[in-house]
């Protein structure tokens, strides 16, 4: 069906994204009238079954929201419950948490760069196909990803759903000699990360920009990962912060009557979390190797406040963040002092706590209410992909419209371009499901068995 003026385009199974979704585009008289990222992940009801659990359990339970970023869920859960109980953890434990999180950033961002995103720029179906023509590049990607997993394996016990994290810290802190075994590997990984940034900077990028507000955590003095204050950078350059406990007053879901999806908005405006937002808000705190990689990749100088609003170029920012995470992991290992105890006790207190950390794909917020014996009475999770959905759909609309204005793309070309527009944001559909409406059209047939 390629009637030029009006058409409906439906891609039933998005590929190279985490979780399962579809995209739906309607065009009338060469104008995009509807652009949707649709979700058919079934609901799993985490916020419901967290009620009645012990306050020590959400780190293990919420890890299962997402196999791609379980550490993000564990860290946001710990932060929120420790906040509710008024407990501050040992700075040496905080450093270990940051190291663990660096492992997840390296693993997850590299997975996206090499296995999910790069094939878009090189015209192939996936990394395994890519390996036929560019095996050296793919092998470097797998090696780099494995270096991230090595951190997770050592500190967490395993890479997916780590077992060593607990409320208040870790079950067991590593001996300095154990961490040293990672050091040599990460030194090699730094070179792989630099080469990755150089490699992706040779890709060609469509020229487009998002006008969404950028939202990321900020911690003066460092590139925020495991905590910070929410900071919003508006299109006009205005930067403002707000206290985390007001998060749900500022980031709200809206049910638009013409749409089947729920949207999160920040102060009523479309917003975007993730690599582009972090780079814009925390870029001045990148390490020199990461900053140099950014400059060499053509992103401008983050130390001078460079901002990148082109979602297609997010692959460059992810590569810079991998360089950063490797240098940061090396620093944390070099300065490691074992904590006197691997965890602090977190006695329950009646109250509500808030926690937010930077998952690889953006800001992940948790809120828990506890009663006196620590039973969870209410839980809210706001994953990054649910927040990003409005910006992703706006990208879809803008990208498709630009393609229609520039020429006469056929359905396959338009679909491929739209899939790329979605993949730019590394959406984690498994995570976001419980925030998205599920009344998808049931007429699609593209899901092939």
């Amino acid at each position: 069906m390629t009637h030029r003026g009006s058409r409906t385009l439906h891609v039933g199974s998005l590929t190279r994204v985490e979780g399962e979704g579809a995209l739906h585009l309607e065009v009338q008289d060469n104008t995009v009238t509807r652009a949707q990222l649709q979700i058919y992940e079934p609901p799993r009801f985490f916020e419901a079954f967290l009620r009645g659990r012990a306050h020590t359990e959400p780190p293990d339970i919420t890890a299962r929201v997402c196999g791609i970023c379980p550490v993000a869920y564990q860290m946001s859960a710990c932060a929120a419950i420790e906040d509710a109980c008024g407990v501050t953890v040992d700075p040496r434990v905080v450093a270990l948490r940051r190291l663990l999180y660096c492992g997840e950033w390296i693993e997850s961002q590299t997975l996206h760069i090499y296995l999910l995103h790069a094939p878009d720029f090189l015209g192939c179906d996936g990394a395994i196909e890519l390996a036929r023509t560019a095996r050296g590049h793919v092998e470097r990607g797998l090696r780099l990803k494995q270096a991230g997993n090595a951190i997770l394996d050592l500190l967490g016990g395993r890479a997916i759903h780590p077992v060593n994290v607990r409320l208040g810290g870790f079950h067991r802190a590593p001996a300095p000699a154990e961490l040293q075994t990672l050091h040599a590997r990460l030194t090699h990984a730094l070179e792989d990360a630099r080469l990755t940034a150089a490699w992706v900077s040779g890709f060609e990028f469509p020229d487009t920009e998002t006008d969404a507000d950028l939202l990321a955590l900020a911690t003066p003095g460092t590139y925020a990962i495991e905590g910070g204050t929410p900071a919003a950078l508006r299109l006009d350059g205005n930067l403002s912060t707000f206290p985390l406990h007001t998060f749900l007053d500022r980031v709200r879901e809206e049910h638009l009557p013409h749409s089947t999806a729920l949207y999160s908005t920040l102060d009523g405006r479309r917003h975007l979390t993730g690599s582009l937002a972090r780079f814009a808000i925390s870029g001045r705190w990148l390490t020199r190797p990461a900053r140099d990689a950014a400059v060499a990749a053509g992103l401008g100088d983050p130390w001078e406040g460079a901002v990148c609003r082109n979602p297609f170029r997010s692959i460059l920012v992810r590569a810079v963040e991998v360089v950063y995470a490797v240098t940061e992991a090396l620093r944390l290992i070099e300065t490691y002092e074992p904590p006197s105890r691997p965890y602090v006790e977190v006695p329950p207190v009646v109250g509500t706590g808030h926690g937010a950390t930077e998952a690889p794909r953006g800001l992940l917020y948790h809120r828990y209410a506890l009663d006196a014996d620590g039973t969870v009475t209410d839980a809210r999770l706001v994953p990054p992909t649910a927040q990003n959905q409005g910006a992703i759909e706006d990208d879809l609309r803008r990208t498709a419209q630009a393609a229609l204005d520039a020429g006469e793309p056929d359905d396959a070309e338009l679909a491929a371009l739209c899939e790329r527009a979605i993949r730019n944001h590394d959406p984690c559909i498994s995570c976001s499901t419980h925030f998205l409406d599920l009344t998808v059209e049931r007429t699609r047939s593209a899901r092939t068995v």
């Binding site: 009801f45 079954f49 196999g67 797998l142 395993r158 890479a159 077992v163």
Partner: protein, 281 residues
Amino acid sequence: MPARVGAAARWSEEAGVPTLAVFKLASCDGCQLTLLDCEDELLSLAGKVKIAHFLEATSAVLPGPYDLTLVEGSVTTPADTEHIRAIRAASRRLVTIGACATAGGIQALRNFADVEEFARTVYARPDYIDTLATSTPVSAHVAVDFELRGCPVDRRQLLEVITAHLAGRKPDIPDHSVCFECKRRGNVCVTVAHGTPCLGPVTHAGCGAICPTYGRGCYGCFGPAGRPGPTGGSLSVNLPALIPVLKSDGMDDRDVERFLHTFNSADFHEELMAARQEEQS
């Protein structure tokens, strides 16, 4: 969503190369990610099989039939009850991977609750939610050739299952308890030495006893050991004997129930009910 089985059976153009398919139902993606985490083996594996359907890894999608199909996730929607039948029909061998696919996963906690109340808790418009009252393993719907446990599955075990199927032999996946692995690693028993509650004695091996190695008690993410499933096994779960030990280590009834009601709640629940009955009689 209607699942479509390729009407005309089309085999891989590379004749003689077995086809591998990966499908997902309700899950976190972690078990299929385990396949991508096999960094050392991924490219060599890709040379031995034709990856015919693996949405997370490749846009190239071929219709069935498939020689080996891996399924992650549990059945939680009316559409997925149809989808899994179509997957079965398109698969020579169907292997379920992970606690969601083998036991219903954490989302099976709804099986002991009011799912409509769950939907009202989470969603602004629960009337839009199309869900079943239960989360069930794939084996409750179609015949399964092998079940690989774990939340998530273990990387080495996943490779063993794939390799064994390619070689036409039975996978070497022991069904003894975590205790065996713990002893083999030379760990000091966390329960005996520290009074830490541990599900190791009743939990299926496979993880390498990582929790006790890190000083915590096993939390049962591989499900009950020796539980008879569609692919065999013998009932050797010793939960009635373990519950008093958990209690002497400081757990009350609610703690014990929570401990068993996590990633394999549906499987452990039956054991718990049997143990309680034994306790009362």
